[in-house]
Symmetry: C2
Subunit: 320 residues, 2 copies
């Protein structure tokens, strides 16, 4: 692989001149520029990225931490990140964690090691304290409804959204309401639980721990949930669930079992993916892709990083 020095030699100029034409600097006589181009052509020259990265101290690489790429919610965020990243000429380094703190630390080490210029957490398991320690090495953005402001964050107001969802179920006559979460320990889930407790208090209903279902993320989970529901002695009449996938699983199974929806069992979910529309599932729309885009914008704008809350919207369909 030819390097910049060989080009300089062949073109009869200095390495600095070669570097100049490489980076489209002005102040290079046209003849020399031509000569350099010819030399590059002849030797099939192409720049070495790690060398540039070392020299410049930046890489145009953006790290993205996500638990699993197969959960549409995260896939959508990444899509948004990719789309916006494209505009800023950023490549994406994906770190799949399965909520493993060790893996998240690896991602943070990539930041400290200057391999990536910034890092976006679509979700996290590591503590804020630890993550903040890495902030000096580059911008870190959280995709969660965070209370702190040291680290910029992008999210919908989850507590408000969950309360709105519950209120909607209330107006439809439900008081026995259960809910599902993706991961109880998550920040967003905490907000949702809080909202749940608030509303249950308001309507003088006990907070039944067994009505808060953890680790519900997929269609399969939804299927099991409805099966579960059938076997329960005291049954909720409505569910506010993690996402459209869980709702889809629930609805499909409910229909098979001849459960009347929404009379016997009402379901409201989050996200508003294609599947929700196709199955007429009532859901709360989240601008997921937009979150990813905003996160990248935060990476780019050194100045006004902050906590941003995006709007959500309740979509009334047939399952409530």
């Amino acid at each position: 692989m030819a390097n910049i020095r060989e080009i300089a030699g062949l073109a009869g100029v200095s390495v600095s001149t070669v570097s100049r034409v490489l980076n489209n600097h002005p102040y290079v006589r046209d003849e020399k520029r031509q000569a350099v181009h010819q030399a590059m052509e002849r030797l099939d020259y192409h720049r070495n990225l790690p060398a540039i990265h070392l020299s410049k101290g930046t890489t145009n690489l953006l790290g993205v931490v996500l638990p699993s790429i197969e959960i549409p919610y995260f896939g959508n965020i990444v899509e948004g990140i990719a789309e916006e990243g494209l505009k800023h000429d950023l490549q994406l380094v994906l770190i799949q964690t399965n909520y493993n703190v060790e893996k998240e630390l690896e991602a943070l080490e990539l930041l400290r090691g200057s391999l990536i210029d910034g890092l976006i957490f679509t979700s996290r398991a590591a503590s804020l304290k630890i993550i903040k320690e890495y902030n000096p090495h580059g911008p870190i953005i959280l995709c969660e409804d965070s209370d702190q402001t040291d680290l910029p964050s992008v999210s919908i107001p989850h507590e408000k959204a969950f309360m709105d969802g519950l209120d909607y179920l209330l107006t439809k006559g439900h008081t026995k309401i259960a809910c599902t979460l993706g991961r109880k320990q998550g920040t967003n889930s905490h907000k949702r639980i809080k909202a749940y407790q608030t509303i249950m208090d308001k309507i003088n209903q006990p907070v039944r721990e067994q009505w808060i279902f953890d680790k519900c993320l997929t269609i399969e989970d939804g299927i099991h949930l409805t099966e579960n529901w059938c076997r329960m002695t005291e049954r909720p009449t409505a569910f506010l669930v993690t996402n459209d996938q869980v709702a889809a699983g629930m609805v499909l199974t409910a229909k098979e079992k001849g459960i009347h929806m929404p009379e016997e069992l009402a379901i409201l979910s989050f996200d508003n993916q294609q599947i929700a529309k196709a199955m007429h599932i009532s859901t709360i729309d989240i601008p997921i892709k937009q979150m990813g885009k905003k996160a990248v914008q935060f990476i780019q704008n050194t100045e006004k990083r902050s906590k941003v809350s995006l709007p959500f919207q309740l979509i009334e369909r047939a399952t409530v």
Copy 2:
């Protein structure tokens, strides 16, 4: 940021010794090793990745080209790649292309620029000729049913699988069979079309161009397809479709319209995702994740790279 030289100075050793403890080389006296560790601790030393990459000429970074992360098929491949990559300490650089050749070229340039050690195409739009030109710069793996063997490839035998699917529909009494493709220009789609022509010839049916539906990938596409089907003057009685998403959209809409399945309309799809099981969609299982894993193994094994065909399996359910 402290560098290796400062550590050497503080620890009272040479840079090579520091490098040795950094890389767990033998032949370092314990006292010196301790001293180095202490110095690293005190200065909060951490290695600079681009520098290592430049010096070693490799990065442990693996490029992954994919059209869209939102299509479950590609997400699954990436999942497999990530899982296997983990074992080999590989990080993933994602290049989302939307089948844009320009973007694929960018990915190839990353390979030439030594930013990534290898590249996996989950799908491609660029010509084999162009891609092959980049092979000298690092291993390139294709996730497609390729006829050539210069570039290693991982896939199921698409032609065989499609023929098996069509045969299955035949045994169920269907002769008027339509099919859908993700992208007509794709290698896998070519195989599928070929199989389609072969079988149609065999049963003396014309190959109706309007019964080969292109650009069908999502649930929405499936919905439109069934709506379309209703408006057709001459209707096929069976569809062999791109993937489970398209099938799901078709089935949902068919049920709503009171279309009798599988009598009036039979649907067989590919992939066997969760949604297919949940909706009892007959489908042809593809070991997608396994493909990703195998691709990574090809990247690692310098020697026996080749063309590998993974097994598929027809899953009988309720839509045929």
